[in-house]
């Protein structure tokens, strides 16, 4: 039998005064309220009989006093929480890891607590069962770790911290949480372990690591448990029922921009066959639905065709209820078509300009042509630094400094990092990367190139066309921008100062298609095919027109957040906890213009696959799930409280039967 004080030390002083107060009240004469009556004659006769039994009356009063003192004594005893533990031992160090990822929202039915609540309950039980010298630490984790409370022996603080834990929509990554947990158990050394003069900065403090999770994460291999003794408590029932949308995207038909194709993948992670339907909503209105019938463990694809104006907001919902609701809906957005601004600098290239004046290309944006001399002007420098253009095409010329925009060099090289071989010819294309968006729909093996140079792009570049002499069309990333370099000219200067076509590409059908692809991909018009999609909790890297000073992001819950636009138009937006469609608006005025949309979806098959695992792997160590029989503390306070209530009732009855 031991006692645990439920009150801070100072609170016992006023509590100790209570019985003294009761005794004092009995010594003091009761202050009675005066009341004028016609005559006390009848009252005196009434109480005369009672005075005869004054001895019994005194006893009754004493009985009340006795009952009241007994009540206070039992209440104090209950506050001391007498109880006993199943076992006793040395003080322990415990670390509780609470999985707060999306899969922990799963619940077997509406009236049942979620896995997260069950895990919290189990941790609360463990905290309740802590012995006097035990200390515990509380960490909640999803794709990041959140230390709810450092090591402490104060149960109340731990329970308060536990009550603040909230389940998230995020995927799971345990590594950070494990590192936080290992901080004290496995202290780092001050320098290299092999150094003879090395001193360890702190003593290792072994700890018991309790992991409360459904195990919906991949094995953590890059971690050494060291002094941590792990215990895995698997949360969740063996029979689950979950159908999830694991992918959903929408794209415009390049041929007919009004037509939108939406694709979704739906998986059945439950143990039984599912027959349900998926409903597609466009701007909140039901536009299409399809039946979904899947065996357990199956995946299926859904495709929808619909007509949508620019700036469409799509939502796909599964029409069945299951254990995990967050993956039953998915969102996709189609941004309004952006006007691409293209600047061509060069001595003049009719084939390039013509290709940009096709009906399709005109829809993408505007083209401005300047001569090579323009490069030396201040206007160009200012324009390039302000990123006013989405794409600059340098035709047989090159700037001295790379502008902070995407570029396309024709017959010239960027001033840095790129090199090229000697001019040789003829050039025969032998390999074309057709998977790249810029090379789609191109048939180039019949291409004739008179002469060209083999490119030596910087590391990380993608060769789009490789000829017998080497790569002749390469795409290389540069500080968030991309440079496309073509190793041959379209138009070459002849020895007599005239111009001659270096290739027959401009007369082939693939040329305008290639230029169109370049405008879409490098110009940024490709963004229109589908809005940015990120996982919950990820930072959305938004890019807007840098002429805007301020934008507003409207979240799915209706929260509006204003953000300053950086000089380059980049806005990092981190408040992406909720799944749904986020709208980026141009200003905070009464009628803000939509700028773009992005979506947050839980497309994570590990989170959607909610079948709890029975074994996890941490640092190549398999840890089987255990039923943690917490060394439960048997407590008496509840019974004491019931007894105190009983005594209170008796006291009340005695008081009401009390005579004068």
């Amino acid at each position: 039998m031991n006692f645990v004080s439920s009150l801070p030390g100072w609170a016992w002083i006023p509590l100790g005064m209570v019985p003294v107060g009761i005794l004092l009240l009995y010594f003091l004469k009761l202050r009675r309220q005066p009341l004028v009556v016609p005559s006390t004659f009848l009252w005196e006769r009434t109480i005369e009989d009672v005075h005869v039994n004054s001895l019994i009356q005194r006893l009754r009063n004493n009985l009340l006093l006795f009952l009241q003192l007994l009540f206070v004594a039992i209440a104090i005893l209950a506050l001391l929480r007498p109880g006993w533990l199943g076992e006793s031992g040395a003080a322990r160090r415990l670390i509780f890891l609470l999985d707060a990822s999306a899969s922990m929202q799963a619940t077997s039915s509406d009236d049942q607590p979620s896995r997260f609540d069950i895990a919290k309950g189990k941790i609360a039980e463990q905290i309740d069962a802590l012995r006097g010298g035990d200390v515990a630490m509380l960490i909640a984790f999803s794709d990041r770790a959140d230390i709810l409370h450092e090591f402490t022996s104060d149960r109340r603080r731990l329970l308060d911290a536990l009550s603040t834990a909230r389940v998230t929509n995020r995927p799971t990554n345990m590594l950070e949480a494990l590192r936080a947990a290992a901080g004290l158990a496995n202290p780092n050394r001050s320098s290299q372990a092999s150094d003879a003069n090395d001193v360890q900065v702190a003593d290792a403090m072994p700890a018991d690591l309790y992991i409360y999770s459904d195990g919906g994460f991949q094995a953590v291999v890059d971690f050494n448990l060291g002094n941590l003794t792990p215990t895995f408590v698997s949360i969740g029932e063996e029979t689950v029922n979950n159908v999830a949308i694991i992918a959903f995207s929408a794209e415009r038909n390049p041929e007919f921009p009004d037509q939108v194709q939406a694709f979704a993948r739906v998986a059945n992670y439950g143990g039984s066959t599912v027959d349900t339907s998926a409903s597609l909503f466009l701007d909140g209105e039901l536009v299409d639905a399809q039946n979904v019938e899947m065996e357990s463990g199956e995946e299926t694809g859904l495709s929808f065709q619909l007509n949508a104006p620019e700036g469409a907001e799509l939502a796909l919902r599964l029409d069945s209820k299951d254990d995990l609701l967050v993956d039953n809906q998915a969102y996709a957005g189609l941004s309004a078509m952006r006007n691409v601004s293209v600047l061509i600098i060069g001595p003049g290239n009719q084939s390039l300009e013509l290709a940009m004046e096709t009906e399709q290309a005109k829809k993408l944006g505007t083209v401005e042509v300047r001569s090579s001399d323009y490069l030396a002007t201040d206007e160009y420098k200012e324009r390039a630094s302000l990123e006013r253009d989405d794409l600059i095409i340098y035709d047989r010329c090159a700037p001295t400094e790379m502008p902070p925009v995407n570029t396309f060099f024709v017959g010239a090289l960027p001033p840095k990092d790129w090199a090229a071989g000697v001019l040789t010819g003829p050039v025969l294309p032998i390999d074309i990367d057709r998977t790249h968006p810029m090379m789609r729909y191109l048939e180039l093996f019949s291409l004739n190139i008179v002469e060209g140079r083999a490119l030596q792009p910087p590391r990380g570049a993608v060769n789009l066309i490789t000829a017998d002499i080497g790569p002749v069309l390469s795409l290389s990333p540069r500080d968030g921008f991309q440079d496309l370099v073509m190793g041959f000219d379209i138009l070459s200067a002849t020895n007599d100062g005239g111009r001659a076509y270096n290739t027959d590409w401009p007369v082939q059908r693939s040329w305008p298609v290639f230029i169109y692809n370049v405008m879409r991909f490098l110009g940024g018009a490709v963004d229109t095919s589908g809005a940015l999609n990120i996982l919950p909790g990820e930072v959305a890297a938004l890019r807007v027109d840098n002429r805007l000073r301020r934008v507003r992001v409207d979240s799915p819950q209706g929260v509006k957040k204003s953000l300053d636009v950086g000089p380059s138009g980049n806005i990092p937006f981190a408040d992406t906890e909720a799944t749904g469609l986020y709208r980026v608006m141009s200003s905070e005025g009464d009628d803000p213009d939509p700028v773009s949309v992005f979506t947050v979806n839980l497309f994570d098959s590990r989170e959607s696959n909610i079948l709890p695992v029975q074994e996890i792997e941490l640092g190549y160590e398999a840890i089987a799930s255990q039923v943690v029989g917490a060394p439960r503390r048997s407590e008496l306070w509840r019974w004491l409280l019931v007894a105190a209530l009983g005594i209170l009732c008796v006291e009340w009855v005695v008081f009401n039967r009390r005579l004068v």
């Binding site: 005066p34 016609p38 005559s39 009252w43």
Partner: protein
């Protein structure tokens, strides 16, 4: 009916109209002072035959029964009952304890005294409505319907301030009024020295005594609870009580026993005991209650 032209707080015109049809009942036959509508112990002039007696010289020849003389050849005098007035007294307890209830017990007592007094006035009885205590000294003797306003004015002036024992009040009344008759004692009987002496005194004066015991509902079922210090409004006596359900039931028993004692005391002495609850309207008390108890008919 000119008396009813002025409105009064004590009696409504409807009640007055009803009262005019009533008559005070006396279970005893008293000697009156003046000619009235009541049978008297005295023999006198009326249409109701009483007795014969031998003629003695000096008797009024008009009353000789000549028919009897013809048959028996002896002179007999034919005696008739005399009709005289009835002495009616209404004594109103004016102690402070009467100032409780809604309406107050004193108000109800005044109403009853006025109502029955008016009945007496209508029947040409000798009516005296008096408050116990100092106010009784200048209580007017009234006769005839026209005296109603004097009676009402007197009653209006009665204040619940005369905190004297009931026996003393009755004694003072007895000393002031010589004759006997019907006496109506309207009181709450709340006298720590007892009401018995007062009633005995009235019975001893050969009065036909009616006790109208007025009680307010608050006295029968007190709406109080908790720890209280009860203060007697008359003598300031303090009684500390903790009013619980148990105590209230004891109190009710005490009230019931008090009423029973009063009833039995009255019954033994030929006094009519009538309990009046102040929440009942006076019209109802007079027309139903007092009628059934034989106070009026």
């Amino acid at each position: 009916m000119s008396a009813t032209l002025r409105p009064s707080a004590l009696l409504t015109p409807e009640l007055l109209a009803r009262l005019e049809r009533l008559e005070l009942v006396s279970r005893k036959v008293f000697q009156g002072r003046m000619k009235g509508e009541r049978r008297s112990k005295r023999k006198g002039q009326s249409v109701e035959f009483a007795d014969f007696r031998n003629y003695v010289s000096g008797d009024d020849l008009r009353f000789i029964d000549w028919n009897l003389y013809a048959r028996l050849d002896r002179l007999f005098l034919k005696l008739f009952l005399e009709e005289e007035d009835l002495h009616f007294y209404a004594l109103v307890d004016c102690s402070a304890s009467m100032n409780f209830g809604d309406p107050t017990k004193l108000h109800v007592a005044k109403q009853l005294a006025a109502a029955l007094g008016y009945v007496g006035l209508c029947r040409a009885d000798r009516v005296r409505v008096a408050g116990l205590g100092p106010a009784g000294a200048h209580a007017p003797v009234l006769r005839g319907r026209s005296s109603m306003w004097r009676m009402l004015d007197y009653l209006d002036e009665l204040q619940p301030t005369a905190n004297i024992p009931l026996a003393q009040g009755v004694k003072e009344f007895c000393l002031r009024s010589g004759g006997s008759g019907v006496v109506l004692l309207i009181t709450d009987l709340m006298d720590k020295q007892g009401y018995e002496a007062a009633l005995r005194m009235l019975v001893g004066r050969r009065m036909d005594v009616y006790v109208l015991h007025t009680m307010a509902p608050e006295e029968i079922e007190p709406p109080i609870t908790g720890d209280l210090k009860l203060v007697d409004c008359e003598d300031g006596d303090e009684t500390e009580v903790t009013v619980s359900r148990h105590l209230l039931s004891r109190y009710r028993q005490t009230v019931a026993s008090f009423i029973d004692q009063a009833k039995s005391f009255c019954a033994q002495r030929g006094i009519t005991y009538i309990r009046i609850r102040t929440e009942e309207p006076v019209e109802q008390i007079v027309s139903n209650y007092l009628r059934s108890h034989g106070v009026v008919r």
